[in-house]
């Protein structure tokens, strides 16, 4: 990262950690994670009590608690990330500070890189804080650790990819609300199109399904690392960041 991009990164990070928004979002994410985690634990307990054949505990904990928890957190992120990304560039336009960036000797890539890396830190901190719940299972019980680690790596990649798309949407909007709503719509379409695509079937269905993130997180939450899925998320990140940089460059040329 260049010195100028680093300056943007540090300023953005400082802005996140000194304003209440980050703490509100983080608390909300943790609260929801806690709610889902304890609900799943209660559900698992009920299954254990009802079942005449006690399932093999290690596998069941992963299957009954970790896997659905990761799937649910993915959906929570679909709603949370637009709130994080909507202010990235739209806020700068609203307050007039974008004019400062625009007229400084900064390239669009430096602005986008600084902002995106700060966003990554914010999302990573938020996601990783929720790992306290699976970690408690590791301490007090005996689930398989590797699938938890792979699942969290998938969740981080998922957040990073949606963050990049959110950044691109924010680069197109001067209004935070519009940016947030538009990102949410894009995320929901991307996330939900998986099921109809599966039903359509055929080459077209398979093609659409390949483009949806949900089909690529399946293996992660099941604890399986696949190069194809990693490649998909990294491509999505590059596309989002690249388009955001191009959008800023285009704005300078208008």
């Amino acid at each position: 990262m260049s010195a100028k991009a680093r300056a943007i990164f540090l300023r953005e990070l400082r802005s996140w950690f000194t304003t209440p928004l980050f703490y509100v979002l983080c608390s909300a994410f943790l609260l929801l994670s806690a709610f889902f985690f304890f609900s799943l634990i209660l559900q698992f307990n009920a299954v254990l009590q009802q079942s005449s054949i006690v399932p093999e505990t290690t596998t069941s904990l992963n299957e009954w608690v970790i896997l659905p928890l990761l799937e649910t957190l993915e959906i929570v992120l679909v709603f949370l990330i637009p709130v994080v990304t909507m202010r990235l560039l739209a806020e700068e336009r609203r307050t007039g500070t974008f004019e400062l960036l625009k007229t400084s000797p900064l390239s669009a890539s430096e602005i986008v890189a600084g902002k995106y890396f700060a966003l990554l830190v914010v999302l990573a901190v938020t996601v990783l804080l929720s790992a306290v719940f699976p970690a408690s299972l590791v301490i007090f019980s005996d689930p398989e650790v590797a699938p938890i680690l792979v699942g969290y790596a998938g969740l981080l990649l998922f957040a990073a990819a949606f963050g990049a798309i959110g950044l691109f949407v924010s680069s197109l909007c001067s209004n935070q609300t519009i940016s947030g709503v538009l990102s949410l719509v894009v995320f929901l379409v991307l996330y939900l199109i998986d099921t109809p695509a599966e039903k359509i079937g055929g080459t077209f269905g398979r093609m659409v399904r390949y483009l949806t993130p949900a089909s690529h997180t399946e293996s992660f939450v099941r604890g399986v690392l696949q190069g194809d899925d990693i490649f998909y998320f990294i491509s999505l990140i590059f596309v989002g960041v690249f388009l955001a940089a191009r959008a800023l460059e285009f704005e300078r040329l208008r």
């Binding site: 304003t19 004019e99 900064l106």
Partner: protein
């Protein structure tokens, strides 16, 4: 130092309306070290012209040269040599004044070794030492404007462009701001956009008058006011364009 060459900017007028020419063939030249006032009523095209000069808005036609660099071909070089204060100072409210100026210095390319000296210099120059530790969001309008000027000066640019720098200030703040701008004479080439005639007579050596997007009068203040007062020349110029 600043040379506008037939700068024009047309904005689309919307459905069924004619396009709006916010600036038409604006040409003028400003020598090194001068303080030049860009005068004109509201809607004369001052801000549009300034936004084109600072590379924030692309001209529909024409170009300009800032410190010998073309705004279209060498935009990055122009930005390196330019300090700009928009009509609303571009401050990050959650940052403290010193932090903010350090950030601006970094993005303007000041080397990390010289950062502290550069920030201390502008804090002192703009009389901001007492508020250096305060949050930008808690500053009065006068201090916000001064911080805005400090960010434009922090990388010692040869050219400074100020868009209505005294607008919204109280009389005392206006006097202080004008004193501050006056102190830049000689070291920097300064272009100020204003609609206050008194500001031009107090601060500027040259004047460029705009009306309806066109230059209606330009020259040294002495030439312009030799026979008639600036008020009379201004009204005559406005009458001339209808």
């Amino acid at each position: 130092m600043i040379e506008a060459l037939k700068l024009s900017r047309v904005f689309p007028g919307g459905t069924g309306s004619q396009d709006i020419a916010a600036a038409s063939d604006v040409s003028f030249s400003i020598g090194k070290g001068a303080i030049v006032g860009m005068l004109g009523p509201n809607g004369a095209g001052k801000s549009t012209t300034i936004r084109m000069l600072v590379t924030s808005l692309l001209p529909s036609s024409g170009t300009a040269r800032i410190a010998d660099f073309d705004i279209l071909k060498n935009a990055r070089e122009v930005r390196e040599r330019l300090g700009y204060l928009p009509d609303q100072p571009p401050l990050y409210n959650e940052m403290r004044v010193r932090e903010y100026l350090s950030f601006v210095a970094r993005v303007k390319g000041v080397h990390s070794r010289e950062l502290r000296t550069a920030v201390d210099r502008v804090l002192d120059q703009c009389d901001l030492v007492t508020v250096a530790g305060r949050l930008c969001g808690n500053l009065s309008r006068g201090f916000r404007q001064r911080v805005g000027l400090a960010q434009a000066l922090v990388h010692r640019p040869p050219v400074i462009i100020l868009d209505e720098p005294t607008s919204g200030l109280d009389p005392l703040q206006i006097v202080e701001m004008r004193k501050l701008i006056g102190s830049l004479r000689g070291e920097h080439t300064v272009l100020i956009s204003t609609h206050i005639l008194q500001e031009v007579t107090q601060l500027c050596s040259h004047v460029v008058m705009l009306a309806r997007g066109k230059v209606v009068l330009s020259g040294s203040l002495d030439e312009v006011t030799r026979e008639k007062s600036i008020e009379t020349r201004f009204i005559e110029a406005l009458d001339h364009v209808g």
